[in-house]
C-alpha cells in the first residue's frame, strides 16, 4: 500500500444484558460522543463519512440506519450500513480511505439483542423453502459443526470447555465484559445444555452494546494521535450456503480471507509474526476451528494450544485476551469489538488485559451460521 490507514480512536459501551434506559440511537451516541471527545474530532470538520453496522431484523426497523442517521452524522452527509458483522465495517472503512475518496471515517456497530428473540432472528437467516422449517438457529447449526469438528479430530467437550475457561478468565480483567469468572471444567460441562455438545456457557450470551471507531489516512492520523494502529491487511470470503454443501469441520472461507490479509500485510508465519489474535468465538469450538483457518495450527491442534497455555494472555500467542465474544458482545457488534480490542492492545491502552509488547495482531469476524462469510484484518503499530 502506498498510503496507509490507521485506527485513531476507539470507544465501547459496557456490554450488559439489557439497556432498557436507552434506545438504539442513544446507545450509539454514547460511543460516538466518546470517540469524538477522545480524539478531539468533530463530525462537521473532520469526519468525511460514516459506516454503520447492524441489521433491520435485529433493530426492528426497515432501513434501520435511519435510526442512527442523526447521531452518526448522516444528515446531509454520507452514511452507509454494512448488513454484516462489524468487522466488515472496519474493512470497508479502510477501503474507502485507500481509494482516496475519504480521509477520515467514523465506524459504528450497535445491536440490542434484548429487544427481540435471537432464535427467531437467526432462524430467519435460513432460507425459507428448504431449511427454515427445521427451526435451526445459529446455536443448533453451530452444534452440528461442533460435533463434526469433534468427530474429525477426536476432540472432546472438555477441549471446548477449556476455551470457555480461558476466555471468561481473561474477561475478569475486562471492565466492559458482561460474563466473566474463573470456572472449572465441571462448571462448563454441567451448565445447561443448549444443543449438544454446546452448553449455555459454550455460547455467547445475549447482550446490548455498541462500538465506535475512527479510521484515518496516514497524514490525518499522525495529526490526531501518537498511537495510530495501522490496518495492514484485509481479507474476506464467502463460503457455501447450505450446511450440506460444506464439510463443517473445515473453514475454506477463513483460510482464503486470511491468505488475502496476510499477503497484503506481508505475513508468512502467523504464529511468529503475530503477537495476539482477537477472534469471534461466538461458540467455544469456533476459537479452535478459526485458529486453524487463520493458519495458527494444523487441523485439530487448536485444543492442545489452549490446554498448554500457548493461547493464554501470558502465552506465546494470546487469543482473545479481552475475553472474546463468549464474555458477552452483541451479534453484529462482535467483529468491530474484535478489531477494537486488538487496536487497544496495539495502542497500549488495554488496561489490565494488556498483552506485553504487542506489535502486530489479527482480528477476525464472521457473518451467518457456521462462519459463512469471513473477514480478517491485520493490524500493527509500527
Amino acid at each position: 500500500m502506498s498510503d496507509r490507514v490507521a485506527i485513531v480512536g476507539v470507544a465501547q459501551t459496557r456490554f450488559s444484558p439489557k439497556r432498557a434506559d436507552a434506545n438504539v440511537a442513544e446507545l450509539a451516541y454514547e460511543v460516538i460522543e466518546k470517540v469524538l471527545n477522545d480524539t478531539g474530532l468533530s463530525i462537521e470538520k473532520d469526519i468525511d463519512n460514516t459506516i454503520s453496522c447492524s441489521h433491520d431484523i435485529w433493530d426492528g426497523q426497515t432501513i434501520s440506519n435511519i435510526g442512527i442517521t442523526d447521531v452518526a452524522g448522516g444528515h446531509l452527509r454520507t452514511e452507509e450500513k454494512m448488513a454484516m458483522d462489524g468487522s466488515t465495517a472496519a474493512y470497508y472503512g479502510a477501503v474507502g480511505i485507500l481509494s482516496g475518496e475519504y480521509e477520515c471515517t467514523l465506524l459504528l456497530a450497535h445491536t440490542k439483542m434484548s429487544q427481540t428473540n435471537r432464535h427467531i432472528v437467526n432462524n430467519d437467516a435460513f432460507e425459507p423453502i428448504y431449511s427454515r422449517q427445521l427451526g435451526l438457529d445459529f446455536t443448533s447449526a453451530g452444534a452440528l459443526q461442533a460435533r463434526r469438528f469433534m468427530h474429525a479430530h477426536g476432540l472432546s467437550r472438555e477441549d471446548f470447555a477449556r476455551v470457555v475457561m480461558k476466555n471468561l478468565g481473561n474477561a475478569m480483567a475486562n471492565p466492559l465484559a458482561c460474563r466473566f469468572g474463573y470456572y472449572g471444567l465441571d462448571d462448563v460441562l454441567s451448565a445447561p445444555m443448549e444443543a449438544d455438545p454446546l452448553t449455555a456457557m459454550d455460547a455467547a450470551p445475549d447482550v446490548d452494546g455498541a462500538v465506535a471507531m475512527i479510521v484515518a489516512s496516514e497524514s490525518k492520523a499522525k495529526k490526531i494521535t501518537d498511537t495510530p494502529v495501522w490496518i495492514q491487511g484485509l481479507g474476506s470470503c464467502y463460503d457455501d450456503y447450505f450446511l450440506g454443501d460444506r464439510d463443517l469441520a473445515e473453514c475454506m472461507a477463513l483460510e482464503k480471507a486470511a491468505a488475502q490479509a496476510y499477503k497484503m500485510a506481508g505475513i508468512s508465519n502467523p504464529v511468529k509474526d503475530l503477537d495476539l489474535i482477537e477472534l469471534s468465538d461466538e461458540f467455544s469450538y469456533q476459537e479452535l476451528l478459526w485458529l486453524e483457518g487463520l493458519g495458527v495450527c494444523k487441523p485439530g491442534e487448536g485444543a492442545r494450544l489452549t490446554e498448554s497455555g500457548f493461547t493464554s494472555r501470558e502465552g506465546e500467542l494470546p487469543v482473545n485476551p479481552s475475553g472474546g465474544v463468549l464474555s458477552g458482545v452483541p451479534a453484529n457488534v462482535m467483529g468491530l469489538n474484535r478489531v477494537a480490542e486488538a487496536a487497544l492492545q496495539l495502542m497500549g491502552k488495554a488496561g489490565e488485559r494488556q498483552v506485553k509488547d504487542a506489535k502486530r495482531a489479527v482480528a477476525q469476524g464472521h457473518t451467518g451460521f457456521c462462519g459463512q462469510h469471513q473477514c480478517v484484518i491485520v493490524l500493527g503499530n509500527q
Binding site: 434506559d21 440511537a25 451516541y29 426492528g60 429487544q115 427481540t116 425459507p128
Partner: protein, 166 residues
C-alpha cells in the same frame, strides 16, 4: 432420468415471518410520552446551537451534531402543512388492523415547533373542507384512557370558524 417427467410446476411456499420486539423508548422519547400521557401536553427539545425546536425530542440535533438538552413545551394547536385523503386501507403495524379508508391524514406544525407531526385529521374527506394552511388542534384521549404511546392522540381537528382561502 426421463426428461419428460421433469417437474415444471411452480411452487410457492406461504409463510408469515413474525418477529417479536420490545423497544426501549429511550430517555428523550420516554419523557415525551410520559408528558403526553400524564399532562396531556407536547414537549420538544431546543438545539443549543441553531435553536430549532424538534419534536419528537431526540438526543442530537442532526444539523448541528450537538446534544439537545433544553426542553420546551409546545402548543396543542398548529398549522396544516400537507395532507392527503387516503383511499388505501393501510395496516397499522402496532395493531395489525387497517385504518378504514377514506380518511384524511395530515401533517401539522404545532405552534412553537420547527417539526411537523403526522396524524389522522377528523374532517370529511372533501377537498373543500381541508387545505394547506388550515389551523388545527390536537384531540387527546381522556387522562384515564391514555397509555403513553401515540395512540393517546385521537386525531387533529380544524379550529372552528375558518374559511378556505380563495
Amino acid at each position: 432420468m426421463n426428461q419428460k417427467n421433469t417437474v415444471t410446476e411452480q411452487i410457492c411456499v406461504p409463510m408469515t415471518v413474525d418477529v417479536p420486539y420490545r423497544f426501549a423508548a429511550g430517555k428523550y422519547m420516554a419523557r415525551f410520552l410520559t408528558e403526553l400521557r400524564d399532562n396531556g401536553r407536547f414537549v420538544g427539545v431546543k438545539c443549543p446551537s441553531c435553536n430549532r425546536v424538534q419534536m419528537p425530542p431526540r438526543v442530537v440535533c442532526a444539523a448541528c451534531h450537538v446534544k439537545n438538552d433544553e426542553w420546551v413545551e409546545l402548543s396543542s394547536e398548529g398549522t396544516m402543512v400537507g395532507f392527503t385523503i387516503m383511499y388505501l386501507p393501510l395496516t397499522d403495524p402496532t395493531t395489525g388492523k387497517p385504518h378504514e379508508p377514506p380518511f384524511v391524514y395530515g401533517s401539522v406544525r404545532l405552534d412553537g415547533s420547527d417539526s411537523t407531526v403526522e396524524h389522522m385529521v377528523n374532517v370529511e374527506p372533501d377537498l373543500d373542507k381541508i387545505w394547506v394552511g388550515m389551523r388545527m388542534k390536537v384531540v387527546l384521549r381522556d387522562r384515564e384512557e391514555r397509555i403513553g404511546d401515540l395512540s393517546d392522540i385521537i386525531h387533529f381537528e380544524p379550529l372552528p370558524g375558518q374559511k378556505r382561502p380563495q
